[in-house]
């Protein structure tokens, strides 16, 4: 049975309590969630603002593909991804990933898989404003390595 999938790219904030509760559908034994927040400091500079933009349509399609790949690897009952766009400030909630599964192991793994690929595949871009300058962020090598490790584990399992 296909998992219940919710995807939202929005400027508005979200309620993690309500989003988590909504994942507790029939059959669920465990829910794992990840909440990303805007950090106060990045690369030793004070962050004033983080401006997020995306490619409408393509972004949602890519998130769906990532969730479907997770669904092929683990037993998922429901998955929610909410990603904010626009101007965000230190401490703001930026991304929510929630996964419901019959058992905790699948929920932990699928949640980590989804956030790891969100960082390297979904068409979002961040511009960071500090007191001295502004700059478009570049993909971190550690994020690329983490996503590659999932692909290697997929290859090993075949």
């Amino acid at each position: 049975m296909a998992a219940l999938i919710k995807i939202s790219v929005q400027s508005a904030d979200f309620d993690i309590g309500a989003e988590t509760a909504a994942l507790a559908i029939a059959g669920t034994g465990g829910i794992n969630t990840f909440l990303g927040v805007v950090r106060h400091q990045n690369d030793n500079a004070d962050v004033r603002c983080l401006r997020l933009e995306h490619y409408p349509g393509m972004t949602e399609g890519q998130i769906r593909t990532i969730i479907e790949e997770a669904e092929n690897r683990w037993g998922l009952l429901a998955a929610t991804v909410i990603h904010r766009i626009g101007d965000l400030y230190p401490g703001d909630q930026i991304v929510f990933v929630g996964v419901a599964s019959p058992h905790r192991g699948d929920a932990f793994d699928a949640c980590e898989f989804i956030i790891d690929f969100l960082k390297t595949r979904a068409t979002f871009w961040k511009k960071e404003f500090t007191p001295d300058s502004d700059r478009w962020l570049t993909t971190r090598q550690t994020d690329l390595d983490t996503a590659s490790a999932w692909q290697a584990s997929e290859a090993d399992s075949h």
């Binding site: 990303g36 393509m58 961040k126 570049t138 993909t139």
Partner: protein, 85 residues
């Protein structure tokens, strides 16, 4: 003749100073050739920017290789490295 819409995002949009251009095509052509055509229409610096190996290309919202044939009516987008999450 038919049009393709070409979009630019984030750092690329700021570097080029436009978020989209429209290119007239009289048949299909590869992404690589489309970049050359855009360079001729706009500025040679655009060709250099779009040929960077860091830039990804999407046609109709799916990532493609530079050899992909663009058809009249397609939606083409050039994408800098993504930084979501």
């Amino acid at each position: 003749m038919s049009e393709v819409t070409v979009q630019f995002f984030a750092s690329l949009r700021e570097a080029l100073g436009k978020d989209r251009v429209t290119v007239l095509l009289d048949g299909s052509l590869s992404v690589g050739d489309l970049i050359i055509k855009i360079g001729a229409l706009e500025d040679a610096a655009w060709q250099t920017a779009l040929e960077s190996p860091d830039i990804l290309v999407a046609v109709n919202q799916t990532l493609v290789e530079r050899s992909h044939e663009v058809q009249p009516g397609d939606e083409v987008a050039f994408l800098p490295p993504v930084t979501g999450g």
